[in-house]
Amino acid sequence: MRRILIQLAHPVLERSRVNRHLVEAVRDLPNVTINDLYERYPDLGIDVKHEQRLLEDHDAIVFQHPFYWYSVPAILKEWQDLVLEHGWAYGAGGDKLRGKITFNSITAGGPKSAYNADGYNRFPTRTLLLPWEQTAHLCGMRYLGPFAVHGTLKVATHADVHVASDAYRALIEALRDDRIDLERAAKSDDIYHELEVLLRREVA
């Protein structure tokens, strides 16, 4: 059973339309830790030692955040800069994250159709996340495709949010219980929309 750490970064979680529900969907799961970064470090004063201990104590790290400007909210960048120390996360002797699984769980305002060569965002979501993929790579982690909930600006009904949060809960549970096709997830552009396929193999 994997221990999962969800690094939640949302500066105004109380106003979020989707993220809040995603977190609530997994909050009660055993072996899942939610680390609410903006709540813990309201002035971005990150406790590096504490964060490193958390990372060491978990097998999978999920970065859950809105997809601000095709990237992460500020605190997550600060976190990345400070916590992933040379000699600890990468470089000589830096092997503390080696073998851990990681992916981004993002919510984006624009529709999925916008994230391709023809759309106004011009690039697939996964391509835009390349810096995170490469960071994971440098730290020797297994990077999975993003869990991306698109079109949150249009998400109006509770039903839509429910679909997403149910899927999220199923994904986290499957990841925890090792019921997911990791090879396939690593190649996926969007594990939210391919969830059926990723989980089916184990169930079958």
Partner: protein, 632 residues
């Protein structure tokens, strides 16, 4: 006993050094300490000082002159103008009524009417030296009652001039002997008046136009002693001038002080004169103590006790009644009455003058002198009685007069106890965010002032459980404990914890022991009241010294984390009562913090916040692409 000046100085200094700290330790105050020291070294106990006590006293009286100079320095003319009603109204009536009543009683006791009138005027005086020193010592000078007492004393100082002028008229052989300084050189009255006005004008002119250039000149010379000498020169010079024209030197220097209160050299003058004032005043108090003629007291105990008691009780009653007439509240009234009940040092001067003028017999003067000294010695104990028993009584009474406010159906998520500077800040942040508050405060003035801003503050004692219930603590989610009185804060915290265990308390504490005390009561979050601003000042200080803002912030944050940790640890050591290991741990903690900061210091830069550092990357043996990726 010894006529060597050094030996005498030795006696006085030893007495002061032994008795004053002792008296302070016992809570009796410094003034009483000096007086007791005087009695002890005086002729009736050890006899170290004898007849010369009188001349020492005359010399030491200059301490009073200096004290009034310093008092004047702290009193801007505008402030003095504001006090005109208490000075002339309250002060004038006090002198008139006391003198009249005193004279009436004296005459009724069979003393000739002229002597009686003189005695009345002598008894009306109070002791500027003892009263001001005692008020300052107890931080009471700035209170309502303290200001009134000061005003009355000021008027008494002024009234000495006409009293001195009247005395010769009362004498048996009026006008024959040249004793009055005002009549020196046989000046006619109108000329004296011109001299007086001229002298006062001169003091104002000196203060306004001469002192500033003089000090600027001295500042240029960069001589510390020259400043001190100049300050003393001003005081001595004005005192001399005043004496020459027949005015009270104390009054003159007071006037000079007021004129200089606005000058930029005010603090300079104050610090220069202060030590001299303190020493001389101490000497003066000692000589008052040494002056008491216990032989006389032993021979006429009833008479003396009677006169002292009657005078003090009489003055007390008159002051109290007048205070009421002038609209003072009860604590201020009692303070005024207790403070000024004694007979003052001017009485010594007036008594010897009265004897010179043959207004009455030396025997009577000796008796009265003893009474004056005894009444002065009794003043500090009276202050203690006032402070310990009378004020609490009348103050409580005052508070009770205002009924605690009825709180009807308070049902707000937050309750704030204590709406002073601290509570207000918290409250304003909450209110700005539209959070309804229930606010409690025990300071009626604060309740009214804040009320004028349109904010409803309930007047009431937040340590009372019924009030906590009425304030809606049962349903509230937050209780901000911001009262500034330590004991009260602790009492409130205890009651809230016991009665409403689920209610979250955010508490302000005054100091570390208070912090630990509140924590031990189960208050989870306690905030040291000055920590936040000091912390921010520390960050700004680092910035001024060249640290970049963000670095300064991070360094301070690191230090704060360490400090908070240390605070908890120290709390345990403090609780054990072992002060040695407390201070040892504290020293140790400071060294720890220094080591920690040195590590963090960007100039030394060993390894912290290494994520922003590329030192280790450069040293990395592996040729890694990361060097360019995460580089500087």
């Amino acid at each position: 006993m010894s006529d060597s000046v050094l030996a005498q100085a030795l006696v006085y200094l030893v007495a002061a050094v032994v008795f004053v700290p002792l008296s302070k330790r016992l809570g009796l105050g410094a003034v009483l300490g000096y007086l007791i020291a005087g009695v002890t070294i005086g002729p009736w106990v050890f006899g170290f000082v004898g007849g010369e006590g009188h001349s020492v006293m005359h010399f030491a009286e200059f301490g009073v002159v200096m004290m009034l100079f310093i008092v004047g320095l702290e009193l801007r003319p505008s402030l003095l103008w504001q006090l005109r009603r208490p000075i002339f109204g309250l002060g004038g009536l006090q002198v008139l009524v006391t003198a009249a009543v005193g004279a009436g009683i004296a005459i009724a006791c069979g003393i000739a009417w002229k002597a009686g009138v003189a005695i009345g005027m002598i008894l009306a005086m109070s002791s500027t030296a003892i009263v001001l020193a005692s008020l300052t010592e107890r931080n009471m000078l700035k209170t309502n009652g303290g200001q009134s007492a000061f005003s009355v004393l000021l008027f008494q100082d002024i009234s000495v001039i006409p009293i001195l002028a009247v005395f010769p008229v009362l004498g048996v052989v009026a006008g024959n002997e040249i004793t009055d300084v005002t009549k020196e050189a046989g000046r006619p009255g109108w000329l004296s008046a011109i001299f007086v006005i001229g002298a006062v004008g001169l003091v104002v002119v000196i203060g306004r136009f001469l002192v500033r250039p003089l000090f600027r000149f001295l500042a240029g010379a960069q001589l510390r002693e020259a400043f001190t000498a100049a300050a003393l020169l001003i005081v001595v010079g004005i005192a001399y001038l005043m004496e020459r024209v027949g005015l009270s030197p104390a009054l003159g220097t007071f006037l000079a002080g007021v004129v200089l209160a606005d000058s930029e050299y005010r603090h300079e003058l104050e610090t220069d004169v202060e030590p001299f004032k303190g020493l001389l005043l101490g000497l003066f108090f000692i000589s008052v103590g040494a002056q008491i003629d216990f032989g006389l007291v032993a021979s006429k105990p009833l008479q003396i006790v009677g006169v002292v008691l009657a005078t003090m009780v009489g003055k007390l009653v008159i002051l109290h009644v007048l205070g009421r007439g002038f609209g003072l509240d009860r604590p201020a009234r009692w303070l005024l009455a207790f403070a000024l009940a004694q007979i003052g040092e001017f009485a010594f001067v007036l008594l010897s003058f009265a004897v010179q003028e043959r207004i009455f017999e030396p025997g009577l003067a000796d008796l009265l002198t003893a009474c004056v000294a005894i009444s002065m010695v009794l003043t500090p104990p009276l202050f203690i009685v006032l402070e310990r028993w009378v004020l609490p009584l009348v103050t409580d009474d005052e508070a009770d007069k205002r009924p605690q406010d009825e709180i009807v159906d308070a049902d707000t998520p937050a309750v704030i106890a204590g709406y002073g500077r601290f509570g207000q800040m918290v409250g304003r942040i909450l209110r700005a965010n539209g959070i309804p508050l229930t606010i409690l405060d025990l300071d009626p003035e604060m309740v009214d002032v804040v009320g004028r801003l349109g904010i409803k503050v309930y007047y009431g004692d937040a340590s009372r459980i019924d009030l906590l219930h009425a304030a809606g603590c049962a349903n509230a989610r937050l209780f901000v404990l911001a009262v500034d009185d330590k004991e009260q804060a602790t009492a409130i915290a205890r009651n809230v914890r016991e009665q409403f265990p689920k209610l979250e308390i955010l508490a302000r504490c005054r100091d570390r022991p208070h912090y630990w005390e509140l924590r031990s009561l189960g208050v989870q979050r306690v905030f040291r009241e000055t920590f936040g601003s000091a912390y921010e000042t520390g960050i700004a200080a680092l910035q001024v010294l060249g640290y970049r803002a963000h670095t300064a912030l991070r360094l301070a944050r690191k230090w704060r984390d360490h400090e908070e940790h240390l605070l908890e640890e120290l709390g345990e050591v403090w609780g054990s009562g072992d002060r040695d290991s407390y201070f040892a741990r504290q020293r140790n903690g400071m060294e720890e913090a220094e080591r920690l900061m040195r590590q963090e210091d960007p100039k030394v830069f060993v390894s912290r916040d290494a994520g922003w550092d590329n030192e280790s990357l450069r040293a990395d043996p592996e040729p890694t692409e990361a060097a360019t990726e995460t580089g500087s």
